[in-house]
Assembly symmetry: C2
Homo-oligomer: 378 residues x 2
């Protein structure tokens, strides 16, 4: 039992749990900072620990292309390469191959693509993607999948779901073979990924098929790719319950604070999103009162911290006026401090959510958060 | 006595000393990180403390234009605005007005110039520049000066030295007037700046004139502005001894590690330079063995730290291979870590120099450093 649900909300599907990995426990619901290129943009590992991160994400497609598998293996794996001792979840890179690569085509056994960096041609199979992630030493890893654009024709989505199912099966087989060769790989956790676009029938079908493969956890992919928010919530509300209650659920790439609370109420346990770091770099910070656009003139002499309630270094040390000056002057420290603050905010939001579930007050917690939080720029 | 020479080298003019400010002691020789826009680029105050910084620089021209004097005054001064409790030395901005502004012209009482940021027109007098720095709460501040280009005609340099002398006198008067109004300003230390380009006669003349004004410390400006290294050393070797032995000497904007040791041997106590942060941002790091260009392919799998002897976070946590990956991937963390390392290297170089002077082994220390250190890219 790598995952244990410790508390359940009475009114919704929200739950608190613990996911056990060989590099430490992950307390869910959890927000996982994104470190695509073996670095959570602009931040150090010690800052991530300070922000409360228990697990971070990285990306197989990016790391496979640069610095390459050999460099990371040579460094003793991804953890020692990047100086992060706690769990790492690696995405397979399927999403990036189909969205970022200059060219990609599904061939008989895998996918051919052209690097977005230098145009070089590559061919990856689901088996190879598993082997790469195992050699990185990922604690939680993802099978190669195909994520369709929004909107897509039902027939396109159907084909894609079938491909993803086949690849999931081959990924699991590849992992089993690796474990037979070397028992150490048994500690690496392979999730299944549910695709299916915004077609309800295909989401349910995809979930059902993956259950047969009995993964220790399930990711929900292909949401927050441009569909309206209501549609995302709808698809989530029928996908999440189709996944086994005793296993962890990970909603990939979502999202804004209110989306996170909605997804928690649907029974999602794990989240990642580039929003805190990307928005931080551009001068938008998240606070309990909503978003602040720090470049705005109204902050020029505002001596308050970004968020009175936040314990991060930026809030303990600096004012909005100073942060505004940094962004106004194009100084890197601005993006750094705003990223640190935003990650702290997202991580703590889910930690507080967890405590609220444990203490049987999730409903009140969510209502209070939503009352204070203004999704419009405050 | 705000400055005390505690140790003198027997063979050279090198000395160790302590400069006392109301915000703490500065142990000389000292390297002062440059925080032009109220931020040492990409680094936090706590990292500067970790690197061993006892004092940092900022710049009146830049801060006057952005965020403006009112914002900094409103925040309670520059220290609280930027979250740095130890001493700050502010340059007057004379150098920037004449080098960076879109337009500048000396008028009867001061200098008119156009902002390099938005083209707005401004007029500053030496008196105003003193008042601004006092309102920032600078611990050590500089009078408005004129720094000529290299090369410049002797007649141009002569006129400029005369202007700088007049401005120095007016600056001192303005500071005295401020102290009469408010005794607290007495703790702010106003240095004189010796200009004179590369004309030996004018350097000596400038030094002599400033001595009459009896400043508590003297800066040597206008070097490292494009002249050959030998000429800089020559001018330094005749300017430094013309300054009183019992007062601190500050060589503005210099320089590379070997230049620092040469200047220390000439009796200079204080240094600032953008080299550690600027080079760091671009992937060049300084080590006891010389410079490393981290983008070079030879570091792709190099698991050694930047410098085995360095105690900084980057060296304790990461390899050259990881740093190279960050620069190669245009990740901000690369410039951050390299800046932190370089500042640690420069600060520690002068701390080690100081210890060597105290322990009567400056000559051996300098020889050993020069033997190991390769100014060419190693």
């Amino acid at each position: 039992m790598i995952f244990q649900v410790t508390h359940r909300d009475a009114r919704t599907s929200a739950r608190a749990g613990v996911l056990k990995t060989s590099r430490g426990e992950i307390h869910t619901p959890v927000f996982m900072p994104v470190g695509t290129q073996a670095t959570v943009k602009a931040l150090t590992s010690r800052e991530l620990l300070e922000a409360g991160a228990e697990v971070i994400l990285s990306n197989t497609y990016h790391l496979y292309l640069r610095p390459g598998v050999k460099v990371i293996e040579g460094a003793g794996g991804l953890h020692s390469f990047m100086g992060w001792d706690k769990p790492i979840l690696t995405d397979s890179g399927g999403f990036q191959i189909f969205s970022l690569a200059a060219f990609s085509k599904v061939r008989k056994d895998g996918v051919e693509f052209q690097s977005h960096i230098d145009g070089s041609r590559h061919f990856l199979t689901p088996e190879e993607v598993v082997r790469i992630q195992c050699s990185f030493g990922s604690d939680i890893f993802m099978p190669l999948d195909e994520c369709v654009k929004y909107p897509s024709e039902e027939s396109v989505v159907e084909k894609s779901v079938e491909l993803t199912r086949q690849w999931a099966g081959r990924s699991k087989e590849a992992w089993r073979a690796l474990v037979r060769e070397d028992g150490r790989f048994e500690k690496n956790i392979l999730f299944g990924i549910v695709q299916g676009g915004t077609i309800a029938r295909l989401r349910k079908e995809a979930a059902r098929q993956l259950l047969d493969l009995d993964f220790p956890g399930y990711a929900i992919g292909g949401l927050s790719v441009g569909e309206p928010n209501e549609l995302m919530a709808e698809i989530l509300s029928l996908t999440a319950p189709a996944l086994p209650a005793e296993k962890p659920r990970y909603l990939m790439g979502v999202g804004m604070p209110l989306d996170l609370l909605e997804a928690v109420s649907q029974g999602v346990d794990m989240f990642d999103c580039v929003v805190p770091t990307r928005n931080g770099r551009h001068g938008t910070v998240f606070t309990s009162g909503g978003r602040l656009l720090l470049r705005e003139a109204k902050y020029v002499s505002d001596l308050r911290p970004l968020d009175e309630k936040c314990p991060c270094y930026a809030c303990r040390t600096h004012s909005r006026a100073y942060l505004r000056h940094l962004f106004n002057s194009e100084e890197h420290l601005g993006g750094r401090l705003a990223s640190l603050h935003n990650l702290t905010f997202f991580i703590q939001l889910l930690q507080s959510t967890r405590r609220a579930i444990e203490e049987k007050r999730f409903h009140e917690f969510r209502l209070a958060f939503e009352r204070n939080y203004n999704e419009e720029d405050s």
